[in-house]
């Protein structure tokens, strides 16, 4: 190989990966609100179809709560909080690798 594993490892941009929790939060809050609105305006026939349960409304509430929990989690424990631990673990393989590579 023309470069050592350490050299390649130091180039890694994996630290630039975005936080999935915000994406889950966003999608479920959006779906949640949409389903709650659909559920509120569901016709009697639609409620009847689901055996009399306002299933759009309840699913919407459930999805909204899940989205809110993910938002809360990513807000309280941002991704960078655990960066020092992995930087310390990586520090002994090469001296320069504790600086995250910037986006490419």
């Amino acid at each position: 190989m023309s470069e050592t594993d350490e050299e390649v490892h130091a180039k890694s941009a994996s630290r630039g990966l975005f936080d999935l929790r915000w994406l889950i939060a966003g999608l479920f809050l959006l779906y949640g609100v949409a389903l709650v609105l659909i559920g509120i305006f569901d016709s009697a026939a639609e409620v009847q179809k689901a055996d009399g349960i306002r299933i759009n409304l309840w699913t919407g509430i459930g999805m909204f709560v899940l989205g809110a929990l993910f938002a809360l989690w990513s807000w309280l424990r941002p991704l960078r909080a655990d960066a020092p631990a992995s930087a310390a673990a990586g520090a002994d393989d090469t001296s320069g690798s504790d600086r995250p590579a910037s986006d490419v």
């Binding site: 390649v8 490892h9 890694s12 689901a50 349960i53 459930g62």
Partner: protein, 560 residues
């Protein structure tokens, strides 16, 4: 076949909007994840930087493809709660064993793949044989997945088959070529939550319609051919005159619970790859353990709809009626109003794409690291292999599309091929597990065992299913039980050949297998420093593993 009978869903603009938003998000994941790809390891293993909850959910989601969901609901309708064997005995123990015992051999040796472990533990022929069979099997399986996805879009939404195949392949292509394994894993985690959001309402409404769990028990027992046997896991599993649809208990415990399950979960690279992308050894160990918790409860979301459909959908699984595989789509059409229907449809399509993506993302890794780099074009800069990875992803998906179209013409052949591939894990597991725990096992024993075990798997499959044109030696009533016994046969042949060849050939010097076998630690273990880190008690792999095992044991007793 199945297509003409499945229910057409009454989708409207709301459902299509929900579906459209999801697909837009998937493309966004690909674009955003691309910024985190600078090296081949970023592309193939997410730079080994992901947290345990992400890899853990991806670990279970990579297996939660739509074929699995529809298939397990079908099993639920056909066999009743015996289907939990595929989860509680056929998955959870193997996941826990991988996390607690085997993971250090994969993660701390810094191998990139399962075939690479075989190269370091045994020799290049073993490596090449395994890498080649895996690459072929996964690209064809991706094609079968794609075909199944095309069929379901065709039947549920009325799209032409070719359009459905191209559109779904296009989305998978975008997010994997751009984002690599990170794109695949992030999408799997997202898909995991969406499919739950689609299945949970279906279970709630379905149970309500049959009068709850007690109502379901009563109606299945009185009004269906399956009857009260639907609610017994272990009833009728006596050896010799098994009446249980899954056959006798030896087949279930050793064939399914040991060989097939441990083979799939501990040596299938599509699964192991998720754990290798974790950020440290502890996170890698926790990957299958975190995955085990959802796995314990997923049967509630597949078996219950199956049984509800058996009661409520007329002629399910009978001549002239919908097939068992249509259980979930039929219930969706019957019960879900627009809105939740869109969520369930999105979850199902997402699960299909994830199933294909898991195959493609493990295929491109094995092709580049285990075939192209060691045997074809060596010693190029890392950037070159990243490029190869992207190109082979496109080629792999094109082959998948080709396979999907071939499958649409010869459906039966594809069914056999797929069943056959499910056997490949049995000999691989035998070679792997003996290699880990027996340090004397020789490199050529690895090769001979793997090749003969694979041949035995193929022969066992063909003869037990009466495909050789000669009468079968033993006749096993249950098709599932035939698979279990076939796996046992492959395992036994592999181990026997391994032991014989080990006696006749020279083992590797102990220095070359340090870190690769049980009881020979590597003094330069890169994770030694990490083990000193103090962690919270709930991050302890042992606590997680034994909790999952305990829950499974309690549930097994309750639903005996």
């Amino acid at each position: 076949m199945t297509t003409d009978l499945a229910a057409r869903l009454d989708v409207n603009a709301i459902d299509y909007t929900i579906l459209g938003i999801y697909f837009a998000i998937v493309i966004a994941i690909g674009l955003l994840a691309r910024r985190a790809v600078a090296t081949s390891e970023d592309f193939f293993l997410s730079g080994r930087a992901l947290p345990a909850w992400v890899t853990g959910l991806a670990f279970v989601a990579a297996n939660l493809g739509a074929l699995e969901i529809l298939g397990m609901a079908a099993n639920g309708a056909e066999y009743g709660i015996s289907t939990v064997h595929f989860y509680w005995i056929g998955a959870v123990p193997a996941m826990i064993f991988l996390g607690l015992v085997l993971m250090p051999f994969y993660y701390s040796t810094r191998v990139h793949s399962v075939p690479e472990y075989l190269r370091r533990r045994f020799n290049r022929p073993t490596h090449a044989f395994n890498a080649l069979t895996f690459a072929v099997a996964s690209v064809l399986t991706a094609g079968v997945n794609l075909y199944a996805l095309g069929l379901i879009i065709q039947s549920l939404l009325g799209w032409p088959l070719w359009l459905a195949i191209f559109v779904s392949a296009f989305f998978v292509l975008i997010y994997i070529t751009l984002g690599g394994l990170s794109g695949a894993i992030y999408t799997e985690v997202l898909q995991f939550f969406v499919i739950l959001a689609g299945l949970i309402p279906l279970v709630i409404v379905g149970l309500s319609a049959v009068g709850g769990w007690d109502g379901l028990k009563e109606q299945v027992s009185q009004n269906t051919e399956l009857g009260g046997a639907a609610f017994s896991q272990w009833g009728g599993t006596a050896v010799g005159n098994a009446t249980n649809p899954l056959g006798d208990w030896i087949g279930i415990v050793f064939g399914l619970g040991f060989v097939l399950s441990f083979g799939y979960w501990t040596t299938n690279f599509a699964e192991v790859q998720r754990a290798l992308s974790a950020k440290d050894l502890s996170a890698a160990q926790r990957t299958p353990l975190i995955g085990a918790f959802p796995k314990i409860f997923i049967p509630a979301l597949t078996i219950i709809p199956g049984l509800v459909a058996l009661v409520l959908i007329p002629k399910l699984g009978q001549q002239g009626g919908p097939t068992y595989n249509d259980a979930i789509p039929e219930l969706m059409a019957k019960f879900l109003p627009n809105g939740v229907l869109g969520i369930a449809l999105t979850g199902l399509l997402a699960a299909f794409m994830a199933g294909m993506a898991a195959n493609v993302s493990s295929f491109n890794t094995v092709f580049t690291y285990d075939l192209w780099r060691p045997y074809v074009v060596k010693d190029r800069p890392d950037r070159y292999y990243l490029q190869v990875g992207r190109i082979i992803t496109v080629i792999g998906i094109l082959i998948g599309i080709g396979t999907a179209f071939i499958a649409s013409g010869y459906e039966n052949i594809m069914n056999y091929v797929q069943a056959l591939f499910s056997f490949f894990n049995a000999p691989l597991f035998a070679t792997f597990i003996v290699g880990v725990f027996w340090k004397r096992m020789t490199p050529w024993a690895g090769f001979a065992g793997l090749v003969s075990g694979t041949a035995a798997a193929v022969l066992a499959y063909l003869s037990l299913n009466n495909k050789l044109g000669v009468p079968e030696i033993v006749y096993i009533e249950s098709a599932q039980s035939r698979n279990f016994w076939g796996a046992i046969a492959a395992f036994v042949v592999d181990v026997a050949v391994t032991v014989i060849v080990t006696m006749l050939t020279k083992p590797k010097p102990i220095d070359e297998v340090k870190g690769l076998v049980w009881g020979v630690p590597d003094p330069d273990n890169p994770d030694a420093a990490d083990a000193q880190n103090v962690r919270s008690w709930w991050e302890s792999p042992k606590v997680l593993g034994f909790t999952a095992l305990g829950i499974t044991a309690v549930l097994s007793v309750i639903f005996l």
